[in-house]
């Protein structure tokens, strides 16, 4: 342990306090750019509307697909919007800078600070305006749940929240690992596009895909934990096993990303000095 923190817990607490400062600063910053806030809101709403077009068209031709009704898929689109909104708020502004950090040598300045460099690179910047998409996602989710006439208890809400959290952790881990490839590839700017395009699969229930793709979307690119499983949990047809699996996978993924980061740092030879 460094001399800065007495125990491991003190270290986590210090990082949490630091993150709160990042957030407060981001909120202040956002108030300076009100036009940015408004355009983010408008673009988000238009994209939400367009994203739902294929679903609405599809259910114009049939009333249910593999046991999913239109209302349930709309609830799922709501969860998708919440998850992408959270990623766009807290993770995207950081991982999109990865190439700059490495090629401009900005990482040097981070490594000198008394802070976990992986934490700093993954969570330093926050785009508060994207939280509007989380809000619109919640509205869509509620509309879907009401239309589908889904009644759920407290236990199911806990299941859903834990699953969404696991999904977020897992997706962040995958995106981080993809971005950390910058240590070896130098430029990873287009990797964000691949990630966001693969994310689109999360707009649809897992059973809409062939079996092999389902495995891919559960274990390799685990978007299923972020959207399909939470909605099924709310509908009450999911046990605790997937929840436990999600937590276990999230822990393993964090460990693996940590490993990739450490290996990557070893190859880093600074760009500015």
């Amino acid at each position: 342990m460094s001399t800065l923190d007495r125990t491991w817990w003190h270290k986590q607490w210090r990082h949490l306090r630091l993150w709160r400062r990042f957030f407060a600063q981001a909120v202040v910053r956002e108030t300076h750019f009100r036009a940015h806030f408004l355009t983010t809101l408008l673009v988000g709403l238009v994209q939400l509307g367009l994203g739902i077009v294929p679903t609405l068209l599809l259910f114009g031709f049939t009333s249910e697909v593999h046991g999913w009704s239109r209302a349930e898929v709309i609830a799922l689109v709501g969860v998708f919007q919440i998850v992408t909104g959270l990623l766009a708020t807290f993770v995207a502004p950081n991982l999109n800078r990865m190439t700059t950090y490495l090629t401009e040598g900005e990482l040097d300045g981070v490594l000198l600070r008394p802070v976990s460099s992986q934490f700093y690179l993954t969570l330093r910047w926050i785009n508060v305006a994207e939280l509007t998409n989380v809000a619109s996602g919640i509205v869509v989710l509620v509309i879907g749940l009401v239309q589908a006439d889904i009644a759920f208890g407290a236990g199911q809400v806990v299941q859903a929240v834990v699953l969404v959290t696991c999904g977020l952790v897992l997706l962040t881990a995958v995106w981080s690992a993809m971005s950390f490839l910058a240590f070896w590839l130098q430029s990873v700017n287009p990797i964000g596009f691949v990630f966001l395009n693969l994310m689109e699969a999360g707009r649809y229930p897992l059973v809409f895909f062939p079996a092999a793709v389902r495995t891919f979307l559960t274990f390799a690119f685990p978007v299923a934990f972020a959207t399909t499983f939470p909605v099924r949990a709310l509908a009450g047809d999911l046990g605790w096993e997937p929840v436990a699996l999600g937590v276990a996978l999230a822990i393993v993924a964090q460990g693996l990303v940590r490993l990739v980061w450490r290996r990557g740092l070893l190859t880093y030879s600074s760009a500015s000095s």
Binding site: Q47, F61, T62, F193
Partner: protein, 270 residues
Amino acid sequence: MSTLARNLRVVRRMTAADIAQQSVYRGAWIIFMLANITMPIISLLIWRTALASGAQLPVDERYITTYFVLLGFVTMATSSWMAGFLAQDIRLGKLSSWMVRPASLLTGFVANNLSEKFLKLFALVPMIGIVWWIFRDSMNIPAGPGRWALFAISLLLGAMLVFTIDILIASLAFWMDDVSALVQARVIVASVLSGAVVPLALMPSWSKGFVDHQPFRYTVSFPVEIVAGQLTGHELLVGLGIQLGYVVVFAAIARLVWSAGIRAYSAVGA
């Protein structure tokens, strides 16, 4: 030498130079094209599932499959990404240095468009080939070379149409400070109306009259429809006529707006 021949020669030289320069980023093009075919594949799987579970679509499985397998290729081949860059060159005064050169600023953008597409082809064609092979049993493949020739012509016209629409939008930078919102609006509107998200054949019947005749259909959907089937010989000819008409009309408007803009241009940063 005629202006056209000179401009063509400039475009050819600049394209060659651009290809040499851009091929440094080979890895990036592969990743870009991977992102490009992801959405069509997701849509393909979703609509096939819908069909298999008994949805009554106005088109069959072969049409859907062929449509989405070709979609990634056609959106790439007819795409244009220059509006934001051109607007920036106008706003920041880079246009000034081109006004004293014996070729238009636009030749640079044509060369950039052609060279990037040339390099993207190498990454994209093998990927499309693999997807095609996986779904080979339900692909519609036109018999004669005739349809493929029409497909190629229509692809070229589609690319010209998108490019002129982009010039038109970017030219507004002569009068407006920020066109990025317009550029974004164009991308969003086009993604639905061009058939890049959902095949236009699946649009509700009340919208058919509008959907089938608006210009964006001729940027992506129409070339794909030529191969995927359903179009009769008559519809094909009428479609190509409309496409050509749109290219001419948009080119004329873009030319008018561009030359009016050049006259209004006040050379920022000179």
